[in-house]
């Protein structure tokens, strides 16, 4: 899929949880071709001295309407600046620029009939299009979500609407679902599936690196093929600069184009 650099109008931008924001952008070319797990490399409008682009996974897209949605967390200068962008009415505003669709998409094994998706924090977002795809393909899909609080489970409602069984959730403060880390839910899901004789054929995980490492270990133990989406600081976002490398069994690989989705067994955690 050819990359484009698309000027994207910001259609909506608002808080959807504690320090969590949803931005909707008009970017028809990328919306038409992006696959689950791929990301866009965004030039945030009106930043002069912070020169680098910021990478964001796509949470949802509407190919017909030509729009994308990004779920983001304010963690630094750029994302904080993003929270203050007002949807653009005026034509003269510069708009965001998106390079996309970038990277290796989720690649569930062809024969998998059951899948488990594990999203920690904002990591729930990059899994949503995958979940839609799996459900559409008739794969029986379970979802585990973890977050700090109930309000931080910002993607939960969409997963609930999509799935037959609601996602299993864990929160640090116990305000929703299991209290504590979501890894215990993953362990249970794996065990239950194995016990029922219907083991998962695919596990996809996205979230903080420590979480992904633990989940990857559980998947390996259970013999379930596992993919993880890696976050690295990126300059070019197209594979040219080598800033974003991940240590893998096959040597250093670029998170932007060889990933962000990697075979979890290959990652040197």
């Amino acid at each position: 899929m050819a990359l484009v650099n698309e000027r994207a109008r910001i259609l909506a931008n608002g808080e959807v949880g504690p320090n969590l924001y949803l931005m909707e952008l008009a970017a028809p070319r990328i919306a038409a071709s992006i696959e689950p797990g791929q990301f866009v490399h965004m030039k945030v409008p009106n930043m002069e001295a912070h020169i680098l682009r910021r990478p964001f996974s796509v949470y949802a897209r509407d190919a017909a309407a030509g729009t994308l949605e990004i779920l983001y967390q304010a963690v630094g200068f750029g994302t904080d600046h993003m929270t203050r962008i007002e949807p653009e009415r005026a034509e003269h505003l510069s708009g965001a620029e998106l390079i996309g669709p970038v990277g290796r998409a989720w690649q569930q094994p062809a024969g998998a009939r059951r899948a488990l998706l594990v999203g920690g924090g904002v990591g729930a977002a990059p899994l949503f299009m995958l979940c839609e795809q799996l459900v559409g393909a008739g794969v029986r899909t379970d979802v585990v979500l973890g977050a700090q609080t109930e309000a931080a489970l910002a993607c939960r409602a969409r997963y609930e609407a999509l799935l037959d069984a609601p996602p299993r959730c864990a929160t640090d403060d116990g305000s929703f679902g299991r209290e504590g880390f979501c890894t215990s839910l993953v362990e249970e899901a794996l065990a239950e599936a194995a016990a029922a004789g219907e083991p998962y054929g695919y596990l996809a995980v996205c979230g903080p690196e420590p979480l992904m490492k633990i989940v990857a270990g559980m998947a390996a133990e259970a013999g379930v093929p596992c993919e993880a989406s890696m976050e690295k600081r990126m300059a070019c976002g197209v594979g040219a600069c080598l800033s974003c490398v991940v240590d893998t069994a096959d040597g250093k690989k670029r998170a932007c184009v060889d990933g962000p989705v990697f075979d979890a067994r290959k990652v040197v955690w």
Partner: protein, 313 residues
């Protein structure tokens, strides 16, 4: 075409330049390490439309590079400590140089080494490959052996340049580090040892600190500063070196738009390289070529070479 380039360059302006024997169809190449060997930017830039493609630094057997984080954003700039990760010269010959040749690109190969011998071996390995010029990097701040330390002393500069010179008849560009007291002294040493052209600047050695975590941001502690922040230092050095030596210069350091490129030519550069700006705008090179031609037309300049060193002073 979204945020694509507007190719509206006036055809009337003569844009070709000669960089120490290297014929370039226009004065714009890319800065080594920011464009790989062109393929990754293939959806944005026709490599044949550039004055040249300068490839990522290559060593004999390939290097692993440094640990991550390898980059940090700084005010109007960035630090990198890639550490010259590259798969070695054989891979470049097998995969990248044919690809560039097929597309009709003019190719400058950026050459690295841990030792004087390694530089020569890389050049020797490339002599039968489609390469139009070598850029010898004696100025990388991100590797412990070789690199910048060589580029800071006239003695080692002369030694490495004269050995590279003996290994090739192709145009030899020597890339200077800005991390020196007197860049003209290093420039003269490189020219006396046989450089056909000089390129400058490589990155300024810098550091970023994460106050919350009380650690350097980069895994390696220090890295090379590039981007608009360094442009004033780069312009000053190009101007100083232009006055000090007679060979043509390839100017770089923070060039982001056509006006920046014109500034470097006025200060004495024969050609310019676009580096960090590619990361910000993947069409930067193409837009800069167009914009330079437009500048020339607007100023009644028929041949872009009229700009070289044309600063009134």
């Amino acid at each position: 075409m979204g945020a694509g380039p507007r190719t509206t360059a006036p055809a009337s302006v003569r844009m070709a330049v000669n960089l120490g024997g290297l014929e370039m169809k226009n004065p714009v190449t890319v800065a080594s390490g920011t464009f790989a060997a062109g393929r990754e930017y293939g959806d944005f830039v026709d490599v044949a439309s550039l004055g040249a493609v300068t490839t990522k630094g290559v060593s004999l057997n390939g290097w692993e590079g440094n640990a991550t984080p390898r980059i940090a954003e700084t005010p109007s700039g960035m630090l990198n400590s890639i550490g010259l990760q590259n798969p070695g010269v054989a891979h470049l010959k097998a995969h990248d140089l044919p690809w560039l040749a097929e597309r009709g690109a003019t190719t400058i190969v950026n050459v690295s080494g841990h030792s004087f011998d390694e530089y020569v071996q890389v050049i020797e390995a490339l002599e039968d490959a489609p390469v139009d010029a070598y850029e010898v990097n004696i100025s990388c701040p991100n590797v412990d052996a070789g690199g910048m330390t060589i580029g800071c002393q006239t003695g080692s500069v002369e030694a490495v340049v004269s050995r590279c010179r003996a290994a090739t008849k192709r145009p030899l560009i020597v890339k200077l580090t800005p991390n020196v007291t007197d860049v003209t002294e290093i420039a003269r040493a490189a020219v006396s040892a046989g450089a056909d052209a000089l390129s400058l600047i490589n990155t300024l050695l810098g550091m970023a600190v994460d106050a919350e975590r009380r650690r350097p941001v980069l895994a390696r502690g220090v890295g090379g500063l590039s981007g608009p922040a360094v442009k004033p230092v780069a312009l000053r050095m190009v101007w100083e070196v232009h006055k000090a030596v007679d060979v043509p210069l390839l100017g770089m350091g923070g060039i982001s738009c056509a006006t920046d490129a014109v500034e470097f030519m006025l200060a004495g550069a024969t050609a310019v390289a676009v580096g960090t700006a590619n990361f910000v705008n993947p069409h930067a090179t193409v837009e800069i070529i167009d914009g330079m031609a437009q500048y020339c037309e607007r100023h009644g300049v028929e041949d872009v070479q009229e700009l070289i060193g044309a600063l009134e002073w």
